[in-house]
Symmetry: C2
Subunit: 203 residues, 2 copies
DNA sequence: CTCTTTACTGACCCATGAGTCATTAATTAT
DNA sequence: ATAATTAATGACTCATGGGTCAGTAAAGAG
């Protein structure tokens, strides 16, 4: 009867596994209510091991945010910028789809964490702003610019605040985070906003 | 040398004083990081007294949310509904002013608390929804209806989701809560949105 | 097969903070 | 005045959970 080993040493994979487990836990309970012991259990390891890879709970928190963010934003932006559609078709198609997806995605959960815990981690806020918000806003601005150059948008499109595109997405996110069971057709909300904006800027 | 009393008994005022102190503390540190002892100090009383009026920290939390909300919303809605302006003038005037004020007001702080802690207090969420969100949305709907009846708005105005008015306010709130120091002309954001909506619905 | 290294465990420590309660003293009743 | 009532205190308890570390065993070297 060959006794199987009590554990395997997997130096390479542990950090990501722990961060994933922590993300799950934070998503469910929030930062403060999450116990390191619980994270460890989810990752299938002992509590002590967590501290080998992350010196404090705060370190772990930061790793989680950066992980989730980095893994997604790059892919998304690249994907979004590589289309050959007309400006209007692009907005009503891929961009709208993207906006509809975000409120139900892990990004929404990261945002909740930032809203609740962000003030105690200013460097995290900066990181998130630089790597997500600023890049997203810049992408929208570039897109509007391109539309004007192509003659698809009126020059006034350049003066539109990119946040006008994101506002209903934001409201949808918060709505779903807070009022999970209250009805709201968030898809229609975003469609309507896109419609408002397009009729304003279309050439 | 008449020794002054060590304290005064003020059964009537304590609950509100404690709730106010707790609101301050929650606003600064968030729910989890706030110590009952700190609340007591702010209120100028002993920790034990807090427990005479609020059985648990959670009770106190609920009282805070209800307090802040109730004290403001009634006044605001009444004020907002008692104007004799034309629909457009009303939107561009009092309503826009109101929207500009909210992101910097205590309401924003309550919303942060609800986003962070709400899931553990479903009855609070319901309370807030019924007393703030639903009433606000209903007010906007009534207002649109009135505009149509008066011939100031096109009938399609009835189909507008009221949330379209609130979306940029929401984004502004979150922006200010999270990215305190990053620039964003939130006032212009709301003006632009109102403008978009008005050109769509004006008769 | 033995030795060294180190990933990993789990029992432990201890600061913290929610909640309690015996005691004190301000107020009210008589 | 004196007694009865109860608002208010503050020292206490006790569970909790972040963080530590001595010891264990898996992997790799020679």
């Amino acid at each position: 009867m060959a006794s199987q080993p009590k554990y395997q040493r997997r130096k390479e994979d542990r950090p990501r596994e722990i961060a994933d487990a922590a993300f799950e836990a934070f998503a469910e309970k929030g930062y403060a209510a999450t116990r390191i012991d619980d994270v460890a259990k989810r990752a299938g390891i002992s509590k002590g091991l967590t501290y080998l890879y992350y010196k404090t709970k705060e370190d772990l928190f930061k790793a989680v945010v950066k992980n989730v963010v980095v893994r997604r934003v790059d892919a998304l932006l690249a994907d979004v910028e590589s289309t050959e559609l007309s400006s209007e078709a692009f907005i009503r198609g891929p961009m709208l789809d993207f906006m509809k997806r975000v409120p139900g995605s892990p990004i929404a959960i990261v945002i909740r964490l930032l809203i609740s815990e962000g003030r105690r981690h200013p460097d995290l806020i900066d990181y998130y702003y630089d790597n997500v918000v600023a890049r997203g806003l810049a992408a929208i601005s570039r897109f509007l610019e391109r539309g004007v150059e192509r003659g698809e948008f009126r020059p006034e499109a350049r003066d539109l605040q990119p946040q006008l595109f994101l506002a209903p997405m934001m409201l949808s996110m918060i709505w779903r985070l807070v009022f999970t069971d209250k009805p709201l057709d968030t898809d229609r909300l975003m469609e309507n906003q896109i419609d408002l904006l397009l009729t304003r800027i279309k050439a």
